[in-house]
């Protein structure tokens, strides 16, 4: 498809055919690619200012000493790798992100199937209701969950006690605290998977299921041999996207536990905040947050490679 305006004309010897500057400008502006770039320019500028510049600035910061007066190369990264607490944060972030993404994907898949099997007239209200956790601002919903888990006036504990059970130390025991922050993340993120999987399910041709039914396939076989293969790319993309967002999560952990007790719920973002903002060591905070980058880049390479391969197979 041509994206330029053709300006061909026969050139006669001795006749100057060079268009004027004004004509050149008009032709340049008439090109579809030029218009596309111009229309995207505000977005490009916003991304450059709010994403690209801060990203490079944080790389620069991470290579400075504590007082930002001396370039120390990878010194901050080497220092972090020698700290027990940081290694614990790496482990915790991996546990937090992988567990949360797994359960979000699982719950999203199950609920998408349930909603997809409802009569068409009833689907809309269920879709709307299921999306509620995802559309509430995360800081607000985290605060709501914190009140439910509140160490002194926990609503959950009130209910448990009214049925004769013991209180649960939701946020004061490190392992319960880990469970609680993962639970809230799953609650918040599962609707995203639901909506993506529901869209994917709707795009699977009915003829495939009809053919499988004629061949005598049961529901499980249809799911394994038709639904899952048809959804693999969507599953991969959603998992990748969610992995990135969950690895970088800040709000839930900061509001509910602030990394405690005993640093045992810190993730990269909250630990970076503690080092960079609370303790005033911005270079070390920047280095901590940049540790996510290689981990996520490797995950992205593998997942996207799989998506491309399957795309070629289908194509």
């Amino acid at each position: 498809m041509a994206d330029t305006v053709q300006t061909w004309s026969p050139q006669l010897p001795g006749v100057a055919l060079r268009p004027s500057a004004r004509q050149n400008l008009r032709l340049f502006l008439q090109r579809r690619s030029t218009i596309a770039v111009l229309m995207c320019l505000p977005l490009i500028l916003i991304i450059a200012c709010l994403v690209i510049y801060p990203a490079f600035y944080s790389i620069y910061l991470s290579m400075l000493n504590k007082t930002q007066t001396r370039f120390i190369g990878l010194g901050n990264f080497r220092f972090l790798l020698s700290r027990d607490v940081f290694l614990m944060v790496v482990e915790q972030t991996a546990i937090f992100a992988l567990t949360a993404v797994f359960f979000k994907a699982l719950i999203g898949l199950i609920t998408a199937h349930l909603i997809n099997n409802l009569p068409a007239s009833g689907q809309r209200k269920w879709r709307g209701m299921m999306l509620v956790p995802w559309v509430i601002p995360l800081a607000l919903s985290s605060l709501g969950w914190w009140w439910l888990f509140d160490p002194i006036h926990s609503a959950f504990n009130y209910i448990l006690q009214s049925f004769g059970y013991d209180e649960v130390p939701w946020l004061s025991s490190p392992y319960w605290a880990r469970f609680s922050v993962i639970l809230v993340n799953v609650w918040y993120g599962a609707p995203f998977f639901l909506i993506m999987y529901l869209a994917a399910l709707k795009s699977v041709p009915d003829q495939l299921y009809e053919a499988a039914a004629i061949d005598g396939a049961n529901a499980w076989q249809k799911f394994v041999h038709i639904t899952l293969p048809m959804m693999r790319n969507i599953i991969s993309i959603t998992v990748l996207f969610s992995l990135i967002v969950t690895f970088a999560n800040f709000d839930i952990v900061q509001i509910m536990t602030a990394g405690g007790p005993r640093n045992m719920t810190h993730v990269f973002a909250t630990y970076a905040f503690m080092l960079g903002i609370r303790s005033g060591d911005l270079p070390l905070g920047a280095a901590t947050s940049l540790f996510m980058f290689p981990i996520l880049a490797i995950a992205a390479i593998f997942i996207l490679r799989g998506v491309r391969r399957r795309g070629r197979e289908i194509g």
Binding site: I152, H153, P261, N263, G280, L282
Partner: protein
């Protein structure tokens, strides 16, 4: 004949201009501080948003008074410390090199931003001349390499002594706290006060726990927890890192303090490990608790929300340990950015709001919560008159033999900031008391973490 007008007489010439510029520059460098705020026009302040309802209004009033006298427009933004928004704002302004003229800084932020803060020796020096010795904690935090980079505020500055229930202590622990610490320092009886030690405190805490009203001492990683544990460590003689970067945590004093804390934490509610800075407030206000360590904000809210509890609260000094009686102090400071366009006016305003008359109004507006850094101002009448019960906050300012301290000292303030903000002391205690880790392992962990704080 034409008469020359005054304008023509002062017609600028190159020579005059150079002369004026040279004189101006010389004056600016030679004069340490010149009150010339008439030339200023406007000043902007980013100030900590007070917990106590209405307390901001008094500061606004004082600033507007000064502004009216000096023909200077003053604009104040009150910035909450919830979610560390004030620290984020300060960090952003320091990095950007633009923002408010004056910014209030909590705890360690003066040290953190020292390179972009204007020296304020003239202002603080003048105040010390007027009001005598300043708090050593304020000096530790804001006087860096011999230069004052911040002016201690009254607003938001605090200590965290005991706040206890008179009725419960009397009934279950047999201690009359009002008799021990009456609302008049001249009536303090040394013999009685000397009995108020950490051993007595533990004994009382055990009895109160048994009676179903435990004391509530936070053991999370927020400042209330860090401050009271720091005060206890000081009273046991625990030094984490000394002023010469020597790690000293592997000591008999540290082991003794941790063993003591094992017993004390056993009689606290188990949820203290998850409390933020509001946790202990909620505990005492709920009526379930018999004592906390906090400024009077919890008392003020109790009077509003649960008056019978509020009427039984009493502030009094911390228990004494083998090395003395210490209370955690957390001053705030006004810093003047070096990129401020209006430094002279800013210094004049800071001096104005630090005068005793202004301080007295600020203390009154906060019902005694705000604590100036000059002990000579502890005679402000608010602390005697606030009620109920009458005299509840009299012993909130350190009186008698109580000394102020901050976790992290006496290490270099760069190191101290890391120790404080990473809550190394409370994590140590939590590992030992909640995690049941071996004492040697906890000490070893702390040594490793403290070594990390020494990074250049």
């Amino acid at each position: 004949m034409t008469q020359s007008s005054p304008l023509s007489q002062s017609r600028p010439t190159r020579r005059n201009l150079l002369k004026s510029a040279a004189l101006g520059s010389a004056a600016a460098f030679a004069a340490p501080y010149v009150k010339d705020s008439y030339a200023a026009g406007s000043l902007s302040l980013g100030v900590w948003d007070h917990w106590v309802p209405g307390a901001n209004n008094t500061l606004t009033k004082l600033c507007n008074e000064w502004g009216a006298k000096n023909n200077c427009e003053v604009k104040i933004d009150y910035i909450t410390s919830q979610g560390e928004k004030d620290k984020l704002t300060a960090a952003a302004e320091a990095q950007a090199g633009t923002g408010h003229d004056i910014m209030s800084h909590r705890d360690w932020n003066i040290r953190i931003h020292q390179t972009v803060l204007e020296p304020l020796d003239d202002v603080v020096g003048g105040l010390i001349k007027q009001y005598g010795p300043i708090s050593p904690v304020a000096e530790y935090l804001a006087k860096i390499k011999g230069t004052w980079s911040g002016v201690p505020t009254t607003v938001g500055s605090q200590v965290k002594p005991c706040q206890s229930r008179l009725d419960l202590y009397q009934q279950y622990a047999g201690l009359d706290l009002r008799d021990m610490f009456p609302a008049d320092v001249s009536k303090y009886d040394k013999a009685k006060i000397d009995t108020w030690s950490w051993d007595t405190y533990l004994d009382a805490a055990q009895k109160l726990h048994k009676a179903g009203f435990p004391v509530g001492l936070p053991m999370g990683q927020s400042s209330d927890a860090v401050d009271w544990v720091g005060a206890l460590f000081n009273s046991f003689g625990v030094v984490m890192v000394d002023a010469k970067d020597n790690i000293k945590i592997n000591s008999d004093e540290a082991r003794t303090a941790l063993e003591y804390l094992k017993k004390l934490m056993a009689v606290n509610p188990p949820e203290v490990y998850a409390w933020d800075d509001a946790g202990n407030n909620r505990w005492i206000i709920s009526g379930k608790g018999s004592g906390i360590m906090n400024p009077p904000s919890s008392w003020a809210v109790a009077i509003r929300d649960n008056k019978p509890v509020g009427e039984q609260l009493w502030h009094h000094p911390m228990p004494r340990g083998p090395k003395g009686r210490f209370v955690g102090q957390l001053p705030q400071f006004y810093g003047l950015w070096s990129f401020s366009k209006n430094k002279s006016a800013a210094k004049d305003l800071l001096t104005y709001i630090s005068q005793k008359d202004a301080v007295a109004q600020l203390v009154a507006a906060s019902s005694g919560y705000d604590l100036p850094s000059f002990t000579s101002m502890y005679d402000i009448t608010t602390w005697q008159t606030v009620a109920p019960p009458a005299g509840v906050v009299y012993s909130y300012p350190p009186r008698g033999d109580e000394q102020t301290s901050i976790t992290g000292a006496p290490a270099r303030s760069e190191v101290g900031a890391q120790i404080y903000n990473q809550a190394i002391n409370t994590v140590m205690v939590s590992k030992f008391t909640q995690g049941n880790e071996k004492l040697d392992d906890v000490i070893k962990w702390a040594e490793n973490e403290l070594e990390g704080t020494l990074r250049a």
